[in-house]
């Protein structure tokens, strides 16, 4: 019998299979909701970044305006902290310099931990920990479930949907009593069953792809994002193919449809929940992050000690020169700033190795995850989805490095200017963030696809062998 006839006959079944259409509808609804959530989050981030940039531009414009105004009509008794022509005044009252990490074009697909990891910092010359204080530095798999986004739907719900529509297709024929009539027909049962799977899988995954793509465009996804969206779709479909292949293999060996369903549910539990959680625990056990509380305590002690020495220095200076206290502001404030810079340098010296230890351990954890993700198709999909969406830790780490670099350049820029203070005009010369998006290689994508499809091919072959032996 030609393939077209098989497909046409199976279509008759699928048309009447209410469970199939209901499951598809529910998954489609979940996907649309996931996309809506993803786009809402991206919109929130984009608006926050826009507000920060607007504020920055407004304050800069105000600096220009006020400087011109004060030049034209110098106000009497103007507080230097409010004078843009004074470096200290500009830095204190006008400079609002933000380092922002804009959402990548496909960010709506996978929020990841971008809702935990800050994407906006107001960078100043002050110690880094004064503006990096909201940084969550737990290991990458801490919040495995994450937001209900499109990747969540693919990761968790797609396999469950496959379970509903594809479990025990052969056993159901046996239990329904139609298997004997089928076996008495001049058809190859393995081929017939393969066509059933292929049609159901093709319809189901095809509909998933259409809803994902349609939803992306309907929510106003950028055309520039179509390549990573297409890549993500390929991954999600490969993930779906894996689960269909697993259902095929388990169904070929299961004596009853309920057994097949239970085994498939067990596989979901193992691959999607237990294995990632086990990896989580392994990381905690063998690559624990240094205690954040200890980090904060150490930093606080160092800050206190440095501040204490700074106060002693300033006190000593004023003791030695009582005529300068409260005295002319200029001399006192230069010492204050000089002392401040000395304290900041000391804090940087204390904090740098602590940050390095965290970063090194985080990097070791990331290496382990890179190697062990092949144990579970869920980890493969999750890892690659975050990378495609630009919400992975690697991109955030690169951006943080750029923020660190900006901080150092800001310190170098302001130290001499704050001491010199007056006659400041370089409003537009303040260092800006230099962050280049890291190049995205397609090798990782192809490896991920292979990691999903190769097991699927193996399972399909094993299932075919089991089927031929049983029928």
């Amino acid at each position: 019998m030609p393939l077209s006839s098989f497909l046409r006959l199976e279509w008759r079944h699928v048309r009447r299979d209410h469970a199939f259409w209901l499951t598809l509808a529910l998954l489609a609804a979940a996907l649309v909701y996931g996309l809506a959530n993803g786009f809402a989050w991206v919109r929130f981030q984009t608006e926050a970044i826009a507000r920060a940039n607007t504020l920055s531009a407004q304050r800069l414009a105000a600096a220009h305006t006020d400087a011109a105004k004060f030049d034209a009509a110098p106000p009497a008794n103007l507080n230097p902290n409010l004078d843009p022509r004074d470096a200290r005044g500009f830095e204190f009252s006008y400079l609002r310099r933000f380092a922002v990490l804009p959402p990548a074009p496909a960010a709506a697909l996978a929020v990841g931990q971008s809702d935990l990891l800050p994407s906006i910092f107001r960078v100043t010359y002050r110690p880094r920990e004064s503006f990096l204080n909201s940084y969550e530095i737990e290991h990458p798999l801490r919040l495995l479930l994450g937001r209900f986004d499109a990747t969540f739907v693919a990761l968790y719900l797609l396999p469950l949907a496959v379970l509903v529509i594809a479990h025990g297709l052969l056993a159901r024929e046996r239990e329904g009593g139609t298997l004997d009539l089928l076996r008495a027909s001049p058809l190859s049962l393995p081929r017939w069953l393969a066509v059933r799977f292929a049609l159901r899988g093709g319809l189901f995954l095809g509909a998933f792809a259409l809803v994902a793509l349609g939803g992306w465009l309907a929510f106003g996804g950028a055309p520039a994002a179509l390549p990573p969206v297409a890549a993500w779709l390929a991954l999600a479909l490969a993930y779906g193919v894996f689960w269909f292949a697993l259902a095929w293999w388990l169904g070929a060996r299961a004596p009853a449809s309920s057994v097949s369903a239970l085994r498939l549910a067990g596989a979901w539990l193992a691959f999607v929940i237990v294995l990632p959680a086990a990896l989580n625990l392994t990381l905690k056990q063998f690559y624990p992050l240094p205690s954040r509380a200890a980090f904060q305590d150490e930093l606080r002690e160092g800050t206190d000690a440095a501040n204490q020495r700074g106060s002693q220095l300033l006190s000593k200076y004023l003791e030695d020169h009582p005529e300068l206290a409260p005295g002319p502001v200029v001399a006192n404030e230069n010492d204050f700033f000089r002392t401040r810079f000395a304290i900041n340098a000391e804090l940087e010296r204390l904090a740098a190795p602590l940050r390095e230890r965290f970063a090194a351990q985080l990097s070791r954890q990331q290496t382990v995850i890179e190697r062990l993700r092949w144990l579970s198709p869920a980890l493969v999909l999750h890892h690659e989805s975050l990378r495609l969406a630009g919400t992975d830790r690697a991109r955030h780490r690169d951006w943080l490095a750029a923020v660190g670099d900006l901080h150092m350049r800001t310190v170098d820029y302001f130290e001499p200017r704050l001491l010199r203070s007056a006659g400041f005009r370089d409003f537009d010369g303040v260092p800006a963030l230099a962050f280049t998006e890291p190049p995205r290689s397609s090798t990782a994508l192809f490896l991920a696809l292979a990691g999903l499809l190769l097991p699927a091919v193996l399972l399909t072959a094993l299932g075919l062998r089991a089927l031929r032996a049983s029928v």
């Binding site: 008759r12 139609t178 027909s185 001049p186 058809l187």
Partner: protein, 233 residues
């Protein structure tokens, strides 16, 4: 026609069918009688290719079932004790599905004609099979055989659970089938029906075909007496 040549089947230490030689010609109805475990269903399954013989051959229209599994099935139809169809399809939809699987695609009117010929009332053609009685499902099974233009018909306990009038109706259908030139092998416990409809009757026990008789040779009483003597021996 259906031919068994030294056809035998063993399951472990148990011989389900001792070497069987049997030929059922076109137009003949052969009723295979025997208790549970006699080897009747094993014989049917060997002709269907559901199990492989340990020795001998099963031939359908001259083709070896073992070496031509798909080809032989084009020529035969099977009606199990319970004809289970797809409950979400109607009678005509099930007929269309299974006849097309069997290699025969017919227009809707022809399919309905087959159903009517099989005795299924017209009002039931478009009803979901989930609401059918056993007799109605069997009629669809017969219609499938008609649609396939099967040269051989294998039946396993077809009248089990049917009331006398349904059973009689079924017998008439079998005769119609045989009249078209099909070879019919029917495994049954129903001595009365076997005598009524069969051309020949075989009595099987412990995997051996003990007696083969022409149905016309014996009365109902004689057949029953021979059956009981065979079982008691």
């Amino acid at each position: 026609m259906l031919t068994a040549q030294k056809l035998a089947k063993t399951y472990g230490a148990h011989t389900a069918l001792h070497p069987l030689d049997l030929t059922i010609a076109s137009g003949e109805i052969f009723a295979l009688l025997g208790p549970n475990g006699a080897g009747k269903t094993t014989t049917i399954n060997l002709f269907l290719g559901f199990v492989a013989p340990d020795s001998g051959r099963a031939l359908v229209n001259g083709l070896d079932v073992a070496t031509h599994p798909l080809e032989t099935k084009r020529h035969l139809a099977y009606i199990p004790e319970q004809v289970n169809l797809y409950g979400h399809f109607s009678g005509v939809e099930n007929l269309a599905y299974f006849s097309e699987l069997g290699g025969a695609r017919h227009p809707d009117a022809t399919l309905r004609a087959f159903l009517t010929e099989a005795g299924l009332q017209i009002a039931a053609h478009d009803q979901r099979v989930s609401g059918y009685s056993k007799g109605m499902r069997q009629k669809v099974g017969i219609a499938i055989a008609l649609a396939k233009d099967a040269k051989a018909l294998l039946l396993d306990e077809p009248t089990s659970g049917l009331d006398p009038s349904a059973s009689h109706e079924f017998s008439e259908l079998l005769r119609k089938f045989a009249a078209r030139g099909a070879a019919v092998l029917m495994a049954t416990h129903d001595l009365f029906r076997a005598k009524e409809v069969a051309t020949r009757v075989g009595i099987m026990r412990h995997g051996r075909l003990q007696h083969i008789l022409t149905a016309a040779e014996l009365s109902h009483t004689d057949l029953e007496k021979l059956y009981l003597e065979t079982m008691a021996a």
